[in-house]
């Protein structure tokens, strides 16, 4: 297909460049749909933000109060001033999430590349085998894993969360799909140039896999950052605990904590992932340059 369409490329692009024209009705429709959807998505988050700044009771006033009725910014300081070591939980979560993400980016892109672009006996069966393991809910395997971690003396260490997180079948699948979408011509050309498999992977596939890596990075970082179930079982001392556990502690016994402070803590917890996302989202779109694909 690439070969067939190569010829009109330059002409076509020029044509579109020239045709900078007033908004068509389709443009207006798409802006309208997107704006409406964005509003629907953001309203509950605005609600959360407002709740974090006001007394709980104001969240029940009707008509609904979308904007803060009070500006208790001190709620955002409260988690740090509480006797829960919130900043330590922050650092713990950062460490666990960063290492897990790094590990997955490496293992998943390698395996994803192999499953997508290399031929070896048993490839498809092995892949299905891996994929099948996605189908087991974590709630069931956690007990054998716990007993194993205890055997290895890893309970209440960050390793107990990081080690199982270094691989991800979901991630392998995601990367496989991205690598599969790449034009074969690129790899053929590299082979002609005498590139080995490692070089093809590192110098051709990976640079093009920016969107995939960024997507996997965000998803993994976020999932680890918000992970609660395993942390609750493995991490038992405060110096090891993660942010979701910290927020659960702020929520208090029988929800006796201040809900506005909890909402503020959630707001604070979102910040790092939001930053990661904003950085990564450039990659999702921009890494795939047109020239790269034409190669």
């Amino acid at each position: 297909m690439i070969a067939q369409t190569k010829a009109p490329f330059a002409a076509g692009r020029q044509l579109i460049r020239q045709s900078r024209k007033p908004l068509k009705w389709q443009d207006i429709l798409s802006y309208a749909v997107l704006t409406l959807a964005a509003l629907l998505v953001l309203m509950p988050l605005l609600w959360m933000f407002s709740t974090s700044l006001r007394p709980l009771a104001d969240s029940y006033r009707l008509p609904p109060q979308w904007l803060p009725t009070d500006w208790r910014w001190e709620n955002y300081l409260a988690p740090f001033e509480s006797n829960v070591p919130f900043e330590l939980f922050f650092l713990n979560s950062l460490k666990i999430s960063a290492l897990t993400t790094l590990g997955q980016l490496i293992t998943c892109s390698m395996a994803g590349y192999a499953f997508a672009r290399l031929r070896f006996p048993g490839r498809d069966i092995l892949f299905m085998f891996l994929l099948a393991s996605l189908m087991v809910p974590g709630q069931v395997t956690i007990i054998p894993i716990y007993l194993m971690m205890a055997e290895l003396k890893l309970v209440n260490t960050h390793a107990s969360l990081i080690l199982p997180g270094l691989i991800s079948i979901f991630g392998v699948f995601l990367m496989r799909q991205f690598f599969k979408q790449m034009p074969q011509e690129l790899f053929d050309a590299a082979r002609v140039d005498g590139a080995g498999h490692v070089r093809s992977f590192l110098q051709i596939a990976l640079p093009l896999a920016g969107p995939g890596l960024a997507t996997l990075g965000i998803i993994t970082f976020n999932a680890t950052w918000n992970g609660y179930f395993a942390a609750l079982i493995f991490l038992t001392s405060w110096e090891k605990m993660t942010l979701p556990q910290g927020i659960a502690l702020l929520t208090g016994y029988m929800n006796s904590g201040n809900p506005s402070v909890v909402m503020a803590a959630v707001g604070l917890a979102i910040l790092p992932v939001l930053i990661v996302f904003l950085i990564a989202q450039r990659w999702i779109i921009e890494a795939l340059t047109r020239s790269g694909l034409k190669g």
């Binding site: 007394p55 709980l56 009771a57 104001d58 969240s59 029940y60 006033r61 009707l62 008509p63 509480s82 006797n83 829960v84 007990i143 716990y146 007993l147 205890a150 055997e151 309970v155 209440n156 609750l232 079982i233 038992t236 001392s237 405060w238 556990q245 659960a248 502690l249 702020l250 929520t251 208090g252 016994y253 029988m254 929800n255 006796s256 904590g257 201040n258 809900p259």
Partner: protein, 441 residues
């Protein structure tokens, strides 16, 4: 509770049988094992598996600091586990921990998980320790006999030293009561009085709707509606379903009518009781003391408490937390010393300011500080004179889940009260039979 005897009685009657077992298990003569505290220069490490929030942690961190003044070379690792996954999940965590051989000396758990833990055989009977320890007897003397009742082992042994507790009591908005001309409700009020008040307080439509009452739709919260009618989910010794009791049907029908007939309470699913109450969209609800932390933080002062309305009796419900020592604890006397500090008067007083639980000592729960808010704060302690523990058999999580699931069917009109209770009775009977089988094997 017919068959049960109080801990005090138990100590008087038996005592020595398990004492011998206790002493021999640790290869110590009984007297030295229990009466003598370890030397203060001992170097050791204790691990506490604790529950609760930041406020608990602060209270017990202070207690550990006091303990370290006496035992400077003993490090205490106080592990705080949020109990958000329910007591079933919390108990599973402990069992996994013990099975894995991780050091766990002292365990704190609420009554809901206590009996599962006892049944697992992980805990050490403490009868002799209590008999030998003056400090622990003093704790008991300053406590209320009812409190020890709920945590007493069904095998006749004592495994827990009581820590804080909570009950269910009606919280009402004093401003709204005044505005409706209702004044202060009588502590002897009846279901009918309650319903009348709730009807008076229910006003408005749509955005202006205000409810007279919000049903506390969780297992613990519903119990007073059964207890005050002289009945309960289980029989007296927590071995069989009691859901075929006509009085249970009467109570459930009453709860159902509050939403579907009288409209004085909002529908129960996913309702935020605390939010509705503090935003003055509900004039009454019910909690224990744990929401007072929130009232204080948000300066919500127009609140007072009153005992549960009566039908046959005025019996409400309570649940307590307890301290236990595991069988795997290496230095039991030292662990006991730590528990003594955890149950000391200083710790108890320290806990009052947080407003999350009711102290287990009379002297703290009736202290000036405790009684300062709300006006009738003395009702908290006085409720112990007519109270029953929340039914907490070893299969608590299963039992409560069965009941609440069918209650959910009833409240959503998926089943009638009759159908729902009948189905629940069948399921619960099977569950209790399985438990009996498990306990006998």
């Amino acid at each position: 509770m017919t068959k049960r005897i109080s801990r005090r009685d138990f100590l008087r009657y038996t005592g020595m049988g398990s004492a011998a077992a206790f002493a021999s298990a640790y290869g110590m003569p009984l007297g030295t094992a229990l009466a003598q505290a370890p030397p203060t220069d001992i170097t050791d490490h204790l691990v506490v598996y604790n529950f609760g929030g930041a406020q608990h942690q602060e209270v017990f961190a202070n207690a550990i600091a006091r303990f370290n003044e006496v035992y400077p070379n003993v490090t205490v690792e106080d592990l705080y586990i949020p109990s958000t996954e329910g007591w079933g999940g919390f108990t599973t965590n402990i069992l996994l921990r013990i099975r894995s051989g991780l050091q766990t000396d002292v365990i704190a758990i609420a009554i809901e998980g206590a009996h599962e833990l006892i049944a697992s055989g992980a805990l050490l009977p403490l009868d002799d320790a209590i008999a030998a320890e003056e400090a622990l007897q003093e704790v008991e003397a300053d406590s209320h006999p009812a409190l020890a009742d709920g945590l007493a082992g069904r095998d006749g042994n004592t495994y827990f030293i009581t820590r804080e507790w909570n009950n269910m009591i009606i919280h009402y908005n004093t401003d709204m009561f005044d505005a409706a001309g209702l004044g202060t409700p009588s502590p002897m009020w009846t279901w009918d009085d309650f319903l009348e008040a709730a009807l008076t307080l229910t006003t408005g439509e749509g955005a202006d709707k205000v409810f007279g009452y919000v049903i506390p739709f969780f297992f613990f919260g519903l119990q007073p509606w059964f207890h005050t009618n002289g009945t309960g989910v289980l029989n007296e010794d927590w071995t069989q379903s009691n859901l075929d009791d006509p009085k249970m049907l009467e109570s459930v029908k009453f709860i159902h009518s509050l939403v579907h007939e009288h409209g004085v309470s909002p529908s129960v699913e996913g309702v935020d009781m605390l939010g509705l109450f503090t935003s003055e969209r509900a004039a009454m609800t019910a909690f224990g003391r744990w929401t007072f932390a929130n009232y204080i933080a948000n300066d919500f002062r127009q609140v007072d408490i009153v005992p549960w309305p009566r039908k046959e009796t005025g019996t409400t419900v309570f649940g307590s937390g307890g301290w236990a020592i595991t069988k795997s604890a290496q230095n039991v006397p030292l662990a006991l010393e730590l528990i003594k500090e955890f149950s000391s008067i200083e710790t108890d007083v320290d806990s009052i300011r947080f407003g999350t639980f009711i102290p287990s000592r009379r002297s703290s729960a009736l202290s000036e500080q405790f009684l300062s808010f709300p006006d009738h704060a003395h009702y908290f302690w006085e409720s112990l004179d007519d109270i029953k523990p929340v039914p907490s058999p070893a299969n608590f999580a299963e039992m409560a889940e069965i009941f609440m699931r069918h209650m959910g069917d009833i409240m959503a009109n998926i089943a009638t009260p009759e159908q729902g209770l009948e189905a629940a009775h069948i399921e619960l009977t099977a569950a209790m039979d399985r438990l009996a089988e498990r306990m006998s094997s």
